[in-house]
Every structure is written in structure tokens, then in C-alpha cells.
């Protein structure tokens, strides 16, 4: 069944019951956190770096129109072309048109979250093109016909056994009988298979980690080197990026790169950080003859206008999901769309509509760990809470929550009634708790007692005890 943010609940439940997935998730959990913790060590004042990152992104967004125009003229000056897409459909149309123009048959792709957002692969495949994902993780899930479950480690949910099986099916027609293979062997095999694809691709599609307005450059960050083979070898390079990705200068990009690697994988610098500016020059020995940059709005200008602007600071590092205990319990697919974890729980409702993503803003304990590691200091819990408030205002909040709140509010505004009811409730719960001191099954609180005992109240309420103490003390 196709994943959807509307089915968050059932997808999360399925994920919790999937032992292979749970095995993969528990392996990933501590790894990412440790790597970041070690990675930020070499900068004495990492907090100051985060603050600087936040300011750079805020400043860039606060003059976005100027930066976009500057970027456009710089790309043109370098011999590239800029295309503007208001939504995903326009972006697909533009890219498909360019591929046709290049008379393309094979397209290599370097991992791009915007590519996922506009669902470019199915569109190109439907038009008869052979689309090959070249990031190893993306390649694995392309073989598995699954969407990514993490924005920087798309196949984080796959175990080595599953990958061995996929490669057996797709590279050996099952001849290996799904034998578990060593990691170097798997990586080498993918390298060989994909090398041929790189060399025969007509068009290479990449995303962009940043866009630099002053030079018209796109910034590509990888560890594998696949982005560089993708933009260097084919006849045409198409980069697709959200309009939010612009930063004014190379020095701004530098600060953000220091944050990105450390936050994502704990690396001070990923293996390959590339600034691509336009197509092959007249005297260049290699590179694509054409360079096209597709700039996508798809709701970003709306976010810029509203109370969620801070979300546009996101540099897609994945730290928030790496540190999210909900994500690490259910994995990325449960969120039902391209962007998982805390950033996805904010972004998906903004892209897809609050009424279609009821659970996402709510499935969070607001524990705040995500915001404490976000390299650009996005207050993710506050944004989630704002989404909840918007749901409440627009009557999207489920009726049980509404009634519960209404009842609680009615009591909490009337201290006498409150004291009476909590006193009664306390007595009732103590009665239910009996000699055990706790309750194993509680009507209306089945969610709790399905997996936890419920502690019975300890003696009469505080207020009563306090009053008693006061009267005992009075004579003094």
C-alpha cells in the first residue's frame, strides 16, 4: 500500500511491529548521535556557530527576492539557464522537457530531496526514460521500490541481509540464493554496476545543498562522489532546488558547510564539496554542454509570508530526526511522505495541508531535543505547537481531545469544583488501586494501561494535607 501522511497511525504501528526495521533503527540510533557529539568538538564555541548559521539563513530569507534575481543573472552570466516552477507539476514538466530536448534515454540522479518532493522519477520513467539513482542508499531503495526513510541516509531502514537479497535479485537473478554478503563486496558491486550507468547517461540531475547568489553556483555535498560523476559526465546537467536554498555569498556557504557536515554525520567536511557554476567552458576538457537550474516554489513563498518562516532556514542535515525518539521508534516511512522526523512533521502539513496530516504535528512529546541540535536553531517544537493551535482554530483537532480539554478547562477554572472532582477521582482511583497501589486496567485510559500500570494516588490530596498541617501548626 502506498504510504501517506494520513495513515500515520497505522504506518507507525506497522513499523513498531516490524522486527527487521526495529533492528536497523536501533543500530542507527546511537551511531548518529555519537558522531555528531564527537564532530562538534573541534569548534570551541559551537553555539556561536549555530547562532551565526541562524543569522545567515534569516538574513538570506529576509531578502530572498534580491538574492534570487542576483543568482539568476549570475547563472546566466556563467552560461547556464534558470527555470522557475511554481509547483511540482511545473517542475516535472520543465525537467521532462529538458530531457526530451537533450534526446535523453538514460538519466543519472544524485540524491535530491526536492527531486523526491516533486516525484520526478516516476514522471521520467512514465515518459520512457531510464532513471538511475546513484547515491548508494538511494540506489538500494530504488531497487526495493521504496521511498527514502531518512533525508541523508535514505536506506537506513535496510539491513545488510535485505540489501544482499536485493542485489542478488537485481544483479544476479537470484543465483546467490540470498546469501548474506560482506559490506565491501556489496559496495564494490554497486560501484561496478553504477559505473556503466554514469558513463552512458545523457542527462544528470542533482539537487543543491545551497545556491550562492554572488557567483551563481550550486553547492553539492556528498561522500561518495556520485554527484560529481552525475554533473560532469552527461551532456546536460539539471539542478533542481527550492527557492529557499539561496545564500548571498561564498563565505556564508562556508559557515553553513561547517554546520552541515558536523550536524549530519559528525564530519568537519564531507569528502566532496563542490561548487558548480554553469556548463562546460569553451576550453574545458570535460563537463556538460548545458547547465539548467530549476527553482521550485511549491509553497515556499507562502511559508515565507506566514508564521512558519523559520522552517525555511532548514539546511536538511537530518540532525533533528537522528535525535528524535519518536523517529527512532518508528523510522521515516511512518511519516508517510518525503520529509520525515521533526522537520517533516512541520514541513509536510505546510506542503500537503493540515487537514491531510492530522497526526504529524501531534505525534511528538515536545521534548525539544531536535531544536537543541538543529544547526540553524529552528524552534521545531514551537512550530509544531503552532500547527496544533491552527488545527484547533480550524476545528481539525479530534473531538475527543476537544471534549477532554473543554472538560478539564471547566474544572480548572472553578477551584471548588476542581477540588471536589479531583478529591472524588483520587478516592475512586485509590479504591481501584486497592492493596496493590496501582491499577492494571483503567476505563478511558486504555492507552496508558495497555502497557503500563497506573499508580493509585498516595493518600488524600495535597491540599487536604496542607490544610491539616496548617491547623495543627496554628497554636504555635
Amino acid at each position: 500500500m502506498q504510504l501517506s501522511p494520513e495513515r500515520f497511525r497505522s504506518q507507525a504501528q506497522a513499523a513498531l511491529r516490524d522486527p527487521t526495521l526495529q533492528q536497523a533503527l536501533s543500530r542507527a540510533r546511537s551511531g548518529f548521535i555519537d558522531k555528531r557529539r564527537k564532530g562538534i568538538h573541534d569548534i570551541a564555541d559551537f553555539e556561536a556557530l549555530r547562532e551565526r548559521g541562524r543569522r545567515i539563513r534569516d538574513l538570506a530569507l529576509s531578502q530572498l527576492d534580491h538574492h534570487l534575481e542576483q543568482l539568476e543573472s549570475a547563472v546566466r552570466a556563467a552560461g547556464g539557464q534558470v527555470h522557475w516552477a511554481e509547483n511540482d507539476a511545473q517542475a516535472r514538466e520543465i525537467i521532462l522537457g529538458l530531457c526530451r530536448q537533450a534526446d535523453a534515454q538514460r538519466v543519472t540522479k544524485s540524491k535530491s530531496m526536492v527531486g523526491e518532493e516533486i516525484a520526478i522519477n516516476p514522471a521520467l520513467e512514465a515518459a520512457g526514460l531510464d532513471v538511475v539513482e546513484t547515491d548508494l542508499g538511494e540506489y538500494i531503495i530504488q531497487l526495493a521500490q521504496e521511498p527514502p526513510s531518512h533525508i541523508i541516509a535514505p536506506a537506513v531502514h535496510k539491513t545488510r541481509q535485505q540489501i544482499s537479497e536485493l542485489f542478488d535479485t537485481h544483479h544476479h537473478q537470484g543465483a546467490l540464493k540470498a546469501r548474506l554478503r560482506e559490506i565491501p563486496e556489496l559496495v564494490n558491486e554497486a560501484r561496478e554496476v553504477l559505473r556503466d550507468k554514469f558513463l552512458s547517461a545523457d542527462v544528470g540531475i542533482t539537487g543543491a545543498n545551497f545556491l550562492v547568489a554572488e557567483t551563481g553556483s550550486i553547492v553539492l555535498v556528498t561522500n561518495e562522489g556520485n554527484a560529481d560523476l552525475t554533473h560532469t559526465l552527461p551532456r546536460m546537467h539539471i539542478a533542481v532546488a527550492g527557492i529557499d536554498k539561496v545564500v548571498p555569498t561564498l563565505d556564508d556557504a562556508t559557515t553553513l558547510l561547517r554546520l552541515l557536515g558536523r550536524s549530519a554525520t559528525g564530519q568537519a567536511m564531507s569528502c566532496y564539496t563542490t561548487f558548480v557554476t554553469g556548463p562546460r567552458r569553451a576550453d574545458d576538457p570535460d563537463g556538460p554542454g548545458e547547465f539548467h537550474l530549476v527553482l521550485l516554489d511549491n509553497g515556499r513563498s507562502r511559508m515565507l509570508a506566514g508564521p512558519y518562516r523559520e522552517m525555511l532556514r532548514c539546511i536538511r542535515c537530518g540532525a533533528c530526526m537522528n535525535h528524535c525518539p519518536v523517529y527512532s521508534a518508528i523510522g521515516g516511512h511512518a511519516y508517510g511522505w518525503v520529509y520525515p522526523g521533526p522537520m517533516g512533521s512541520v514541513l509536510t502539513p505546510l506542503f500537503r495541508g493540515l487537514e491531510n496530516t492530522r497526526d504529524l504535528p501531534n505525534a511528538c512529546t515536545l521534548n525539544g531535543r531536535c531544536a537543541s541540535v538543529c544547526p540553524v536553531k529552528i524552534p521545531l517544537p514551537d512550530l509544531l505547537r503552532q500547527l496544533r493551535a491552527e488545527q484547533f482554530r480550524r476545528n481539525i483537532t479530534d473531538s475527543r481531545t476537544r471534549w477532554g480539554l473543554r472538560l478539564w478547562g471547566a474544572l480548572a477554572r472553578r477551584p471548588a469544583l476542581y477540588a471536589l472532582s479531583t478529591g472524588l477521582a483520587g478516592r475512586l482511583l485509590r479504591l481501584l488501586g486497592g492493596k496493590r497501589g496501582r491499577i492494571r486496567r483503567l476505563p478511558l485510559a486504555g492507552g496508558w494501561t495497555a502497557s503500563r500500570d497506573f499508580p493509585a494516588p498516595q493518600g488524600p490530596g495535597f491540599r487536604q494535607q496542607w490544610k491539616k498541617r496548617q491547623t495543627e501548626r496554628k497554636p504555635v
Partner: protein
């Protein structure tokens, strides 16, 4: 009908100037008013630039050899290939530094960007940065990007004086060149790697499996 470009830019402008808007005050042309512009938070180290560079280079799983003069590069390469059990075959970038070297006969030298026979490539770095042990290579007539990514093993000649402390210094230096920015400006930090199978680091994903620096005076 107005174009997508105009619609997007109009919406962006309206968002920034509208009731809830807040348009930044820094100059739109890239000048920006960071209060702490003087010293961005970045790694600090004690000791020599070169030591820091080599330390970070090795931390990134790359290796290096010091070469006394440019002329000694060919013998160093021959030794490196022999030591690592590699066939005596080398693809040399058309870089002016490498043009007048005399290669020994037993070494098969090729040029161009043909992927066939691209086992070991030799190119020249435009700069390096000590901050992260990173090599900087700019595409151009003397420096085909293809070599740096398709070769199984990548050898890079680096002039000691081209090692700079930070990325900001690299920008300042490269900006002075007339052909800046090049089509592809590559910051390379160690050999290619992936952790996509069970978060276990494996070298040699799509790019070179090894990266070796020949450090010349």
C-alpha cells in the same frame, strides 16, 4: 498570463514587504551585517599550518609523501605504484606543472579523459586548506574533473605554499583569478566513501579508493 518567475518573485516580495513581513536591512548585493564578522567560529589549532593539514589529511584516510623537487615526482609515483601493487600505468592531467617531467620508460603514460584505463590519475591541486585537510581542485583546461572522480587511485601534486588555513582564505585566494569561478570547484577531503550499508564506513564508493598527496616545496 504572467510567467512563473514573475509570480514567484511577486509572492516573495509580498511576503517580505507585507503586513507580517520583515525585510532585512543588509545590502542586497551580498554584503551582510554579521555582528561577529571578524572571526567566524571555526576550528583553532596550535602549531604549524603544515602539521595541521597533514594531520587532518590522514584523519580523512588520505596519505602523503614529501617530494624534494618537482623533478622527483616521477620516481615517487613509480615507487608509490610499486608499493601498492598497482600496474605501471598513469593518467596525467594536462597541467603545466606536469608537462616537462621526464617519466621512466616502464611507466605507461596516458592523457585525455577517456574512462578506459583510468586506474591511477595524477592531477595538481590549486590550493589546500589546513582546517580540514582538504584539497582544492578547479576544473579547467589543465584540470579535467573526470580524472579526479573516475580514477581508482588519485595522486595529487600540492605545492606547500598553497596550503591555506581556512576556506575563507581559499576564497580570497581564488577570487583573484580571472577565470573564477570555474565550472566545477572541488573540495576533496580523503577518498570516496559510503556508510549506506548499516552505517558502516566503506572507502571507494564511486570515486577514488585512495587519495595520495605529493607535497612539493
Amino acid at each position: 498570463m504572467s510567467s512563473a518567475r514573475d509570480n514567484i518573485l511577486r509572492r516573495v516580495a509580498a511576503a517580505l514587504d507585507g503586513r507580517n513581513g520583515n525585510r532585512g536591512t543588509g545590502s542586497p548585493s551580498g554584503g551582510h551585517d554579521h555582528p561577529s564578522d571578524a572571526s567566524p567560529p571555526r576550528p583553532q589549532w596550535e602549531g604549524a599550518l603544515l602539521d595541521r593539514f597533514l594531520d587532518r589529511l590522514q584523519a580523512a584516510s588520505a596519505s602523503w609523501t614529501g617530494v624534494d623537487t618537482l623533478d622527483a615526482v616521477p620516481t615517487t609515483v613509480v615507487d608509490y605504484l610499486a608499493d601498492n601493487g598497482l600496474a605501471p600505468r598513469l593518467r596525467v592531467a594536462p597541467h603545466r606543472l606536469l608537462q616537462n617531467l621526464s617519466w621512466p620508460d616502464q611507466l605507461e603514460i596516458t592523457t585525455g579523459t577517456d574512462p578506459q584505463g583510468l586506474d591511477v590519475a595524477l592531477s595538481v591541486a590549486d590550493a589546500a586548506m589546513a582546517e580540514t585537510g582538504t584539497l582544492v581542485l578547479c576544473s579547467g583546461p589543465e584540470s579535467p574533473t573526470t580524472l579526479d572522480f573516475l580514477a581508482d587511485h588519485h595522486l595529487v601534486v600540492l605545492r606547500r605554499e598553497h596550503i591555506l588555513p581556512y576556506m575563507e582564505d581559499v576564497w580570497a585566494s581564488l577570487r583573484r583569478r580571472p577565470d573564477f569561478p570555474p565550472r566545477s570547484l572541488n573540495y576533496i577531503t580523503g577518498p570516496s566513501r559510503t556508510a549506506d550499508v548499516e552505517q558502516t564506513m566503506q572507502l571507494g564508493a564511486h570515486g577514488p579508493r585512495s587519495l595520495h598527496v605529493l607535497l612539493i616545496p
